[in-house]
């Protein structure tokens, strides 16, 4: 859909509504890559994904193909997945291990794990022409690379705020809340990546993560089915059903419950969904977790950690983190109408196995390729993209709900109700800043 004027993108974002072109226009998508994905900090992976020297995983920053790997000294590197010789993609699988060096399958150029050229066959062909230490002959590293509590980020821009400054208090909470729940203060990735493609714009997914109106509608069938099965299970076995059933039944909590949650919009677009979850259940697994944390941190700190009530942190533009259940989804935009999600979960080091089982149950019921929950979400995303791609029938997306009612203080917006469309407005206001419009 061609716009009249690509130099006036600011006119596409009004305070309570956004033009459909922001989701459907390929030229705008290219500008988003340029101004957001290639400028800000993008999550690459977790240190524990590459535990051994020579380990590597491949992923995306925008459309750039990247590698995260570990060298023999234990250092982690983020490289562009490209041979400086003829441009060949060096790592052609999702993950693996190389004994000492990367070796290009085309002409056997070898690179150390930090990207430096290690060896070239028949070196004499280059003597007197170009030095093999010349930067143009090394695998290029990401312009900047920083890690927060084991979570590795890269920026393809040499300038900009530090990771710490960019994450800010709001987004750092995502990683703190995961790691603090471990008696050792560390989490460890479970080596499984579920990958799902959405036939829709990346922003549609982000908006959905903080959309508190849709669950009881979109997930009506799943919530009902789970609630019914809970009764059947109890009837037949006389026991309480597995906790996973409740994760699903919760999707049909009434509007009032969702309304009581808070959404908080932070600078740079990071948005948090928080809420009062009530007392911690006093089951044996929770008690055992409390004991492990008390032993490590003392009772006051344990209480503060477990009272942290952050359901969801959206680390703009590309990460959805659910700390209480150790879930993480990385969002990789591939086109205006196509997005890849890489879905992970973590173990908490030193926590009781029962806590991991909860994380695994959520990973299965909500995040696996057989999820009954995301089946209906993915349908909505695709349907939105289809509607937004139409030429006629309307030009705008409405974000009117509770507009003008959300308090702002020191650059942080909180929602007046859990169902306010404040998160969407906050993300687009950051979008405008990133896009310099």
């Amino acid at each position: 859909m061609p716009l009249d004027n690509y130099n006036n993108l600011g006119s596409l974002v009004e305070p309570e509504r956004v033009h459909k072109a922001c989701y459907a226009d390929e030229k705008i998508f290219e500008k988003e890559l340029e101004n957001i994905f290639y400028k800000s900090w993008i999550y690459i992976g977790h240190e524990s994904q590459v535990p051994n020297p020579g380990d590597y995983w491949t992923t995306w920053v925008g459309r750039e193909r990247m590698i995260i790997c570990r060298d023999e000294e234990g250092n982690i590197h983020v490289l562009y997945n490209r041979c400086p010789h003829r441009g060949t993609l060096i790592c052609n699988n999702l993950h693996g291990n190389v004994p000492k060096a990367f070796r290009c399958p085309y002409h056997a150029w070898q690179f150390n794990m930090d990207g430096s050229l290690r060896n070239v066959p028949m070196k004499q062909g280059y003597e007197g022409i170009v030095d093999l230490t010349d930067p143009q002959l090394q695998m290029k590293r990401a312009e900047r690379q920083e890690t927060y509590r084991g979570f590795v980020f890269a920026s393809l821009s040499s300038d900009g705020p530090s990771l710490d400054e960019w994450l800010g208090k709001g987004a750092r909470a995502a990683f703190d809340d995961i790691c603090n729940r471990s008696p050792e203060g560390e989490c460890e990735i479970v080596m499984n990546c579920f990958r799902i493609i959405q036939h829709s714009n990346w922003k549609i997914f982000l908006e959905n993560q903080l959309d508190a109106v849709h669950p009881s509608i979109t997930h009506h069938s799943t919530g009902d089915a789970a609630a019914q099965e809970q009764k059947i299970y109890k009837q037949k076995t006389g026991e309480e059903p597995p906790m996973g059933y409740q994760f699903l039944a919760d999707f049909t909590l009434p509007y009032e419950k969702w309304d009581s949650l808070d959404t908080i919009g932070h600078p740079y677009g990071h948005t948090v969904l928080a809420g009062y979850m009530g007392l911690r259940p006093k089951d044996p697994i929770t008690v055992s977790h409390e004991e492990a944390l008390t032993k490590a941190y003392g009772v006051e700190r344990m209480d503060a950690i477990l009272s942290t009530n952050v359901h969801h942190v959206l680390v703009y533009p590309c990460l959805s983190v659910q700390p209480p259940l150790q879930q993480l989804r990385a969002v990789r935009p591939l086109a205006a109408n196509k997005t890849l999600t890489e879905i992970w979960h973590f173990r908490l080091k030193g926590a009781p196995e029962g806590i991991y089982e909860r994380s695994l149950a959520y990973y299965y019921h909500v995040n696996s390729p057989s999820t009954m929950v995301n089946a209906d979400d993915l349908n909505n995303f695709r349907a939105c993209q289809d509607g937004l791609s139409l030429e006629g029938g309307g030009d705008w997306v409405s974000f009117h709900r509770n507009y003008g009612q959300d308090p702002v203080e020191n650059g942080i917006t909180t929602s007046v109700t859990g169902m306010s469309e404040q998160p969407m407005r906050n993300m687009f206001s950051s979008w405008k800043e990133y896009m310099s419009v």
């Binding site: 493609i197 036939h199 069938s221 089915a225 299965y364 696996s368 390729p369 009954m372 349908n379």
Partner: protein, 169 residues
């Protein structure tokens, strides 16, 4: 007639097992859910591992790992009037072949059977397809074989998947 690569089983058993697998494919394609459930033992499990080298489904990620209760839940969801992503319709067609009885335990009446499947799924004006290997552990119950464990190894187990799988493959 005997399998060249497996134990010597009777032609009758071979045929019985094949018919069971074809019947399973038919009830799946025709969405005859009660009959689907009935093919499994009470403690029967449908398991699609998340990786080809998994030895067990316990305590680790899986694509599907469902007992009777979870299978029943899935049926309730897929037939729910507000299962929105089912509204546009969803039709499948399976072919099951290469049925080989890998082991037969005459004492416990347990059989391990491998087969290959290929299926198409029609949804939203589009066809997508899946294929892979089934490994069934069958156990004789009264006069019929029932499924104690069905393991499904997808050819494209690593994905990426566009959309998800709403019912078993």
């Amino acid at each position: 007639m005997s399998n060249r690569t497996g134990p010597v089983t009777s032609a009758d058993t071979q045929r019985e097992v094949e018919q069971l697998l074809y019947h399973q494919a038919e009830v799946l394609d025709e969405r005859r859910w009660e009959e689907w459930l009935d093919l499994f033992t009470e403690d029967g499990v449908y398991w699609m591992p998340a990786s080809a080298d998994q030895k067990t489904g316990e305590g680790q990620p899986n694509i599907f790992y469902e007992d009777h209760y979870l299978m029943d839940m899935r049926i309730r969801r897929v037939e729910h009037p507000y299962a929105h992503s089912q509204a546009a319709g969803h039709r499948t067609s399976h072919v099951v072949s290469n049925v080989m009885i890998k082991s037969e335990n005459h004492a416990s009446h347990e059989l391990v059977v491998t087969s290959r499947f290929h299926m198409v799924e029609y949804r939203l004006d589009d066809l997508r397809h899946f294929g892979g290997k089934y490994t069934h552990t069958l156990i004789k119950s009264d006069d019929a074989y029932k499924i104690k464990l069905q393991r499904v190894d997808l050819a494209n187990v690593e994905g990426p998947f566009d959309f998800v799988m709403q019912v078993w493959l």
